[in-house]
């Protein structure tokens, strides 16, 4: 019976094709906005936090950026050379400088994949102080050593089964961007997204994985005391301008205190998210009212049809379901288109962002997000369809037959 009513509802929508399409526009704009935003938001958070998070207030990060003019996507970023470390370390007030490779990575285990990021761990005498600075402690297994090759330490997040269906254990092999690595340790739980989701490997492995010998993504400068940070920041900038041959105001690099950078980026991200959510909500409400309007019109137009169906034995509940489902379908189809659009949009924008030099930005539209937005759009349709469907169900057959 339900299947039959579904078919009948679907026929109704197909019959009023143009109107159904127009009605759906409101829904799919809203859904597309939500899907693309949530998809990108996840990617942005990974990007931002992996670069800047959890370094403390007595450190600075140096990154290469696009100088801010010229068309995007021309690969304008001039990467940082790995010989900078020694020069930065010679600046007064600098304790140590670590080179880090931070890249997005596709982690594969138990036939499941997950976007994450790889962070390199400096070798030699820097290793210990780096571990202390990030407060890295091991839960099972051990931390990396200089002699380790094709070995990784994973964040605590992967020790639960909800990422890959089963926990990743010490001694198991994982694939990172298709290359096999052996897991030698799992970090203690930090409660932070960044550390708990990270993949740590030796610098040499990271360089080989990303085919990159002479450049680094990020330099962390540890300053002797917090009070010296502004002074050191200025000197590092001076040094880099000289090294890279750029003038004041044309810098193709950024020297930042991580806490500050993270804060301002999060604020911007939040503002953008809020703005898009508001637009999406308005669009969905307007879309819902559009569905209601269309359904009221449909009920009115099909009054006679309702009368006929009642005359030949349709109960009120069936008439209700017929219009209720039809309304849900309009929402659902709108949702399918919207989700598809949002999926393409988030991946497209992430691609453009990577072309423009934000190499860590990955869109991640999870099955849950897709399923969730489809269920939501169907519910939206049905919610706004309740009143019209009730009106149809309550019609008296004799009056309805008069048309």
């Amino acid at each position: 019976m339900l299947v039959d009513l579904l078919k009948l509802s679907w026929a109704g929508i197909k019959h009023r094709r143009l109107r159904s399409w127009l009605t759906m526009i409101g829904i799919f704009i809203g859904i597309a906005a939500v899907v693309s935003l949530v998809g990108l938001g996840e990617g942005l958070r990974v990007a931002i936090t992996s670069q800047f998070g959890f370094l403390g207030t007595d450190s600075l990060t140096v990154t290469a950026v696009s100088p801010g003019f010229g068309p995007p996507g021309q690969g304008a970023v001039n990467p940082l050379k790995d010989d900078l470390m020694k020069k930065i370390e010679s600046i007064q007030g600098v304790n140590t400088a670590y080179a880090r490779i931070v890249e997005s990575a596709l982690l594969e285990y138990n036939d499941n994949q997950r976007m994450s990021y790889v962070g390199s761990v400096p070798e030699g005498h820097d290793r210990k102080s780096f571990e202390t600075m990030l407060n890295l402690n091991i839960e099972t297994g051990r931390l990396l050593r200089d002699s380790d090759k094709a070995k990784v330490v994973l964040g605590n997040r992967y020790s639960t089964e909800d990422i890959f269906g089963k926990p990743v254990e010490v001694g198991k092999e994982v694939l990172i961007n298709g290359e096999p690595f052996i897991v030698i340790g799992i970090l203690e739980k930090k409660g932070s997204f960044i550390v708990d989701g990270s993949i740590l490997m030796n610098e040499q492995d990271a360089k080989e994985l990303y085919n990159d010998d002479k450049t680094v993504d990020l330099i962390i400068v540890k300053v002797e005391s917090e009070a010296l940070v502004p002074q050191v920041q200025e000197n590092v900038e001076k040094l880099l301008r000289k090294e890279r041959g750029v003038k004041v105001g044309e810098e193709d690099f950024q020297v930042q205190t991580p806490a500050k950078a993270l804060e301002s980026l999060n604020q911007t991200l939040f503002a953008i998210q809020l703005f898009v959510y508001i637009i999406a909500t308005i669009s969905l409400v307007v879309g819902g009212i559009g569905i209601m309007n269309t359904m009221y019109t449909a009920v009115l137009e099909r009054t006679r049809e309702i009368g006929i169906m009642k005359a030949i034995g349709a109960r009120n509940s069936m008439i209700f379901l017929l219009f209720f489902l039809e309304s849900g379908f309009i929402g659902l189809v709108g949702g399918i288109i919207g989700t598809g659009l949002g999926f393409s949009l988030s991946h497209g924008l992430a691609f453009l962002a990577r072309q423009a030099g934000f190499r860590l930005i990955q869109a991640s539209v999870s099955p849950l997000l897709i399923f969730g937005s489809l269920a939501f759009s169907f519910s939206l349709g049905t919610i706004f369809g309740v009143l019209p469907a009730l009106r149809a169900a309550k019609m008296q057959p004799v009056e309805a037959l008069r048309g």
Partner: protein, 229 residues
Amino acid sequence: MKKSIIKLVKVWKTYKMGDVEVHALRGLDLEVMQGEFLAIQGPSGSGKSTAMNLVGCLDIPTKGTIFLDTHDISKLTESNLAQIRGRKIGFIFQQFNLINTLTSMENVMLPMMFQGFSEEKRRKRAIELLELVSLGDRLDHKPKELSGGQQQRVAIARALAVDPDVILADEPTGNLDSKTGDSVMDFLNKLNKEGKTIVMVTHDDELAQKAGRIVYLKDGQVITKEDRK
């Protein structure tokens, strides 16, 4: 003695038009016997359509009682009535009243769907019925692709779909030319001979003459009954 299938006892139907009450039926007594071909005749405004709505369980009376197979149905809710008429009564309307978005076959299948017949059974029976009304080659045509006579034949097939006890025909030939109208009447007669109870509402004398019994209505009451067979 033939069994009574539908019986209206002192039935009133009153409509409110603003402050004015209009009595469409004023204490109507009417009995439909199993297996008969009854014509309800009367001028427009005589209450014959209202009477048919009540006989067809499409509406409930303001006052009075209606018995269907000895069950009092005059106080039932719309959904219960729908269930009863879906099983017991087949409708044929003057304007055919097919659903334009559905094919002949789907139209005939619809009443069976409301009764929860399986898809396979519906399909099989719809084809049988459409073949019976000589439309076996028009299964996938939509009403707009059919002539008036063909549409009325689809409607007849639909009325027969759940094998109801009573066929109610409201001016079944009103929108057809006389030749097509005759063939529809012949078909109704044939159904009657096969045992179906038929109630036909018409204002046409000639048509009424083809029924087994005629009831004349005027001002919401029966004025004469004529038993012709």
